[in-house]
């Protein structure tokens, strides 16, 4: 589960916040193009939401060390919030460095 945070980095436990995602490319060495942005969604009663990340590339599973790096941006009720760096690789996906 992903947790919406307030400006101080604390969990923002509010239901029904509408989130819209978009992506900005940093580098594309694994698969061409940006990930398609998903449809709008909203937080649950804890201010949380699900987000499943995936990668499927012809270079995998050949052990390619190439990566796609994007910034996942969201607006929350129309207001932009801090983006998250997503690194897609054949062997791992990191979300905000984790």
């Amino acid at each position: 589960m992903m947790q919406l945070l307030d400006q101080h980095g604390n969990p923002y436990r509010v239901a029904g916040v509408t989130l819209i995602e978009s992506f900005t490319a940093v580098s594309n060495n694994l698969a061409p193009g940006l990930p398609p942005a998903g449809p709008a969604f909203s937080t649950d009663s804890l201010g949380q939401y699900t987000d499943d990340f995936f990668v499927c590339a012809s270079a995998c599973p050949g052990g390619s060390s190439n990566t796609n790096i994007v910034i996942q941006n969201h607006t929350a009720n129309g207001q932009p919030i801090a983006g998250i760096v997503i690194v897609y690789s054949c062997n791992y996906i990191t979300i905000g460095g984790n």
Partner: protein, 238 residues
């Protein structure tokens, strides 16, 4: 011995009775979403020009879905209303015709496992991008599937189908969902060459979204969000 057969004619979704439908000063997109939500009719909106956001007032009683949709989207204003096997589809004469419309792009195959509406949407987007992306020696997809769906659809496989037909199948299987184009009609034109590559690269080729009627929060805002998106694309700020 007697055999009794009770055949009850089942009205198609377009002929379903609408006892009353009243809206005042509501945008066309919100009005049709309200109607589709109440009547539990899957919906496709492939026109997102400014007429979609014009406020209208409608007072109807004892009509059917076709009549109500026609009141919201008058034919003499350029709108087109059709039904694709139970999916109410709203279009407009300004929408590019096949094969110039990206929604008319044919997919050789499209399959989904049992999955959410959101996952089906992402799978379709990726299938389209994969098909239209010239092989540069590295092919593949990355992405995320945000939000938990309330209903599972599929599995199903379709062959030699258009993007529009897949979208209709997805919302039809769901039963209470809509797909909505998010750009002005001229932006729906399928580009080629470097324009296509640019649209694939910046993610703007996927010019539609989906929404579940059960998500009240998003349903209340999707009309305004669509308008905001259309305006931002038009002004180049998206």
């Amino acid at each position: 011995m007697s055999l009794c057969v009770n055949v009850q004619a089942q009205a198609g979704p377009m002929q379903r009775t609408v006892t009353s439908f009243n809206v005042t000063g509501v945008s066309r997109i919100d009005a049709i979403l309200m109607l589709a939500q109440r009547q539990r009719i899957p919906l496709g909106i492939e026109y997102a020009g400014m007429q979609l956001f014009e406020p209208i007032s409608v007072r109807l009683s004892q009509t059917d879905v076709q009549g109500a949709a026609s009141a919201i989207f008058p034919l003499d204003a350029g709108f087109r209303i059709s039904s694709d096997d139970g999916v109410l589809v709203i279009s407009h004469r300004k929408v590019p015709a096949a094969p110039l419309n990206v929604l008319d792009t044919r997919l050789a195959n499209f399959s989904i496992p049992k999955c959410s509406l959101q996952e089906a949407y992402i799978r379709l987007a990726n299938q389209l991008l994969a098909q239209l992306t010239p092989p540069p020696g590295r092919r593949g997809i990355t992405g995320s599937i945000p939000g938990a769906g309330s209903v599972q659809i599929g599995p199903f496989t379709m062959s030699d189908v258009t993007v529009r037909e897949v979208l209709n199948r997805i919302v039809r299987e769901h039963g209470n969902a809509a797909w909505i184009v998010q750009v002005e009609p001229q932006v729906l034109s399928l580009p080629s060459g470097t324009d296509l590559e640019k649209k694939v690269a910046d993610g703007s080729l996927i010019a539609w979204t989906v929404v579940e009627y059960s998500n009240r929060v998003v349903m209340e805002k999707i009309g305004q969000m669509t308008k905001t998106h259309v305006v931002s694309v038009e002004s180049g700020t998206h």
